[in-house]
Amino acid sequence: MISDHSVVYYLTMIFGMVVVTFGIRFVLYARADKIQMPEWVEQMLKFVPVAVLTAIIMPMILLPNQADSIVMNWQNPWLIGSLAAFSVGLLSRSSLLTIAVGLVIFFLSKWFFGS
């Protein structure tokens, strides 16, 4: 259990979280009209979707449910579903089809292996 803190304590905590989180998200937007990214930064930023989204999902796929070591076998529905989605994504270049096939294969293999 979390030890008892006062209302003021929690309000201060949430206020602090809001300041840093909103600060990060808004700092560049605040003076957006003045900000001109150097060419090399723009070059790099176009890789942001792939770089960040890959970094977010890879541990979810290979270390499902906070596993301690990589689970790379057919009994890992996260891996099977992702491989299916990825293949469809590369071949079709269609996001919708990718999501649909990935979900179907994921739930099928989850049900099949009963995990």
Partner: protein, 264 residues
């Protein structure tokens, strides 16, 4: 990239209302994936002994799923306020990359617009809308309505599911085993895959993916952030490399054409 968006002509441009609903629509799979996170967050917070208003206010005002979970853990561990706030900062630092990438699409907007869109800049909203600026579906004139639609729909569902988790979490059995979170993974894959059409994007993908696994034990999501930065670095280096190869090829082609007597 600009060539793609310049191709967008008046006929294919979405009206504000259409753009809003387009934003809602492209966010749906991620909203589904977010529901279990919200439910679990609400359930966990109350089961740890927090008063219901604390997790609720976090979802309403902070609106940053992963850092909200991390803070629960820190509270359990008895961390001090500065540690909690600094950790939140580190965990959410990746949003700065999103902002840097999107700033070119929102710079013409009024301050209230930028305040709202800044507040709503989460992984899912970025992932849902950003690729459609590249595809030409969204443009400077109405893209922000789609961005707003993604944010608003996700925001509502995130808060409703937090509230449900707080109120009724104990009645939802083994929610974490359902695997609804896979909807988010599948969506992210659907976003990543179409980008993988050249050497540079592939190197970003491989470097970022491998580093995310290798660095997974770094505290406070730092592994994820470092992996993303390494991926960006790989992208820059490999696009430089392939530029060199390309320009060599172009030169060779020009020389070949010249010797055929063709004009440049």
């Amino acid at each position: 990239m600009n060539q793609v968006s310049n191709k967008t002509d008046k006929n294919t441009e979405l009206a504000p209302k259409q753009a809003f609903w387009f934003g809602v629509m492209v966010c749906i799979p991620m909203i589904i994936g977010g529901i279990p996170f919200g439910l679990i967050f609400g359930t966990l917070a109350t089961s740890y002994g927090l008063e219901p208003w604390v997790p609720m206010l976090m979802s309403l005002l902070v609106f940053a799923g992963s850092s909200q979970f991390v803070v629960l853990g820190l509270l359990m561990a008895g961390a001090t306020l500065p540690v909690i706030i600094f950790t939140t900062f580190i965990v959410n630092l990746r949003h700065l990359l999103y902002a840097a990438d999107l700033v070119k699409y929102i710079r013409h907007l009024s301050l209230p617009w930028r305040l709202v869109l800044g507040f709503g800049l989460i992984d899912e909203v970025y992932a849902a809308t950003r690729p459609h600026y590249d595809s030409g579906k969204l443009s400077l004139s109405t893209g922000h309505y789609a961005y707003f639609g993604s944010f608003l729909s996700y925001y509502i569902v995130w808060n409703v599911s937090t509230a449900l988790g707080i109120a009724a979490g104990e009645f939802i059995p083994e929610l974490s085993n359902w695997g609804l979170e896979f909807a988010m993974v599948a969506t992210f894959i659907g976003i990543i895959a179409p980008y993988l059409n050249n050497f540079a994007y592939w190197s970003v993908f491989v470097v970022s993916g491998v580093s995310a696994i290798v660095l997974v034990n770094l505290p406070n999501n730092l592994g994820m952030l470092s992996a993303a930065l390494l991926g960006l670095l790989a992208g820059i280096i490999s696009s430089k490399l392939s530029n060199i190869t390309n320009s060599e090829n172009t030169i060779k082609n020009h020389i070949a054409k010249d010797s055929d007597g063709g004009a440049l």
